[in-house]
Amino acid sequence: MRHRGQTRSACVPAGGQLAEVRATPPLFRRPQVGVRRQKMSILPIQLLHDRDRFWSALGENKLGWRDLLGLAVFVVLASGLYGAVLAGWRSPRLSLYVAVKLPILFLGTIAVVAVFNWMTATILGSGLSFRSTLFVVLASMTIGCWILLSLVPVTFFFVASGVSYAGTHDELRYAHNSILVTHIVILAIAGFLGNVALFKGLRRLVGPRCPVHSLFVLWLIAFAFVGCQLSWILRPFVGSPFYPVAFMRPDCFDRNFYEFVFTEVLPFLITGGK
């Protein structure tokens, strides 16, 4: 029977040398490397199962740049896979293009708004470092990418069984619109759940005097504003059947997303499509 304060090595019988060796603390710090590698590789899984632990580690400054890279790699892989399925109905070439473009869109948007996020966080007194702001945004992106990854089988099934790249003009338009709506719904779910995670993370990390709602709304607006324009530049994603397959449209820099909305979409809606 082991008593309080008695070490594990003291309990083993005389012949249990191996157990003694295991219980002895390591002489060198080398095993820490293994622990660190393991931690980095499972960080996305930790975010899925035990976000509290992740936010605590981030709050205590225990996560480094390599961990950040681990999250970015996960975002690239997950969004790349979803992108490949997203455009799969149109052609394998567009599928490959979108597998490259979707991670560029996600990480590119984070990169463009990174400085703004850090500045607003600093001005509002959150006490977050530049690296912490990147971590928070990438963590919420990772949650969104988990959602996308989990819906890859569903999306693939819809693409494989629901839409056909053949038929009349109207049938093609119907197929394109239905697959477009499916993807919009899926991306909206992923975005919503990612932002819920972002808000909860911010609430845990920022200082008590920081207006967390304002910070969250500012970040959200900046992300959406830049994300819409970047997705406009990088289009096509779903792939209209009436345009040739291309990595980017030739007129991608001619106008911006908001010009398109205000000069074409809004007048169309106001006049009832006339």
Partner: protein, 248 residues
């Protein structure tokens, strides 16, 4: 001995997973219908050895879906009923398979960190619950199936019965809240919407299910489920117009 202690002694302990598997379908059905909190405890108690109970739950789901398929398939005769005997469980199981990753991720994201084994058991229990409700409503489906010739009516009826069953399955998940593992259910409830949409598309993919097949049990044509349901009602409108013109 106090009254509370008496109660504690008279309350049967929650069945461990192995027990559920050992007693087979009967115990599973009783637990699902009468004490869902015991199922929750059994799932939460073990994170690894749940394959047996999951198989028992899946067997219940397959059999009950098959019975419902047979009942509703009688609308178009015995050949379609036999076809639906196979297709109805296939639709349910394939939908669950496709939605399994999303159940796991949605539950975890919402704050219920289930293991893969627990997710499997939860998914199978939901499908078994849907199946039990379907088997309860199978006589109703049979009665209307043999007494109508309207395809849109039977489509709407089947859809309604199935949605009622899914609502009860969702309610069953709500009762699992008694266990701390299932306290946060937002993700699982959202997952039900995905399961509904996927099952509708799966049924479209495995058509025809309520009409005599022309070239065999399967069709190669790709179709979105909304388009397919729309065409069912369009066919009805055309036939009504034809009847009116012949009456003139």
């Amino acid at each position: 001995m106090t009254g509370q202690e008496d109660d504690r002694q008279s309350t049967p302990p929650p069945p461990v997973p192995a027990e559920i598997a050992a007693h087979g379908a009967e115990n599973v059905v009783t637990a699902l219908l009468k004490a869902p909190d015991r199922v929750a405890d059994a799932i939460a108690a073990s994170s690894k050895s749940l394959l047996g109970p999951a198989c028992a739950l899946l067997a219940v789901a397959v059999v009950s879906h098959a019975v419902f398929g047979l009942a509703i398939g009688l609308f178009a005769g015995w050949s379609v009923a036999i076809m639906d005997l196979v297709k109805a469980p296939l639709v349910a199981v394939c939908s669950l398979l496709l939605c399994f990753p999303s159940l796991y991720v949605f539950a975890c994201v919402a704050g219920s960190p289930l293991s893969i084994s627990q997710t499997l058991a939860l998914g199978c229990s939901c499908l078994a619950m849907v199946g039990l409700l379907l088997i309860g409503l199978a006589p109703v489906a049979w009665l209307f199936a043999v007494s109508t010739e309207s395809l849109p009516f039977i489509v709407v009826l089947a859809l309604l019965i199935w949605l009622v069953a899914v609502c009860f399955a969702s309610r069953y998940v709500g009762k699992l809240r008694a266990n701390p593992l299932f306290q946060k259910q937002g993700g699982i409830k959202m997952w039900f919407l995905i399961l509904i949409v996927v099952t509708l598309q799966m049924a479209t993919c495995m058509r025809p299910m309520l009409a005599k097949p022309e070239k065999g049990w399967w069709t190669g044509e790709k179709k979105f489920f909304l388009s397919h349901f729309g065409s069912t009602f369009e066919a009805k409108e055309v036939s009504v117009e034809q009847e009116e013109s012949s009456a003139d």
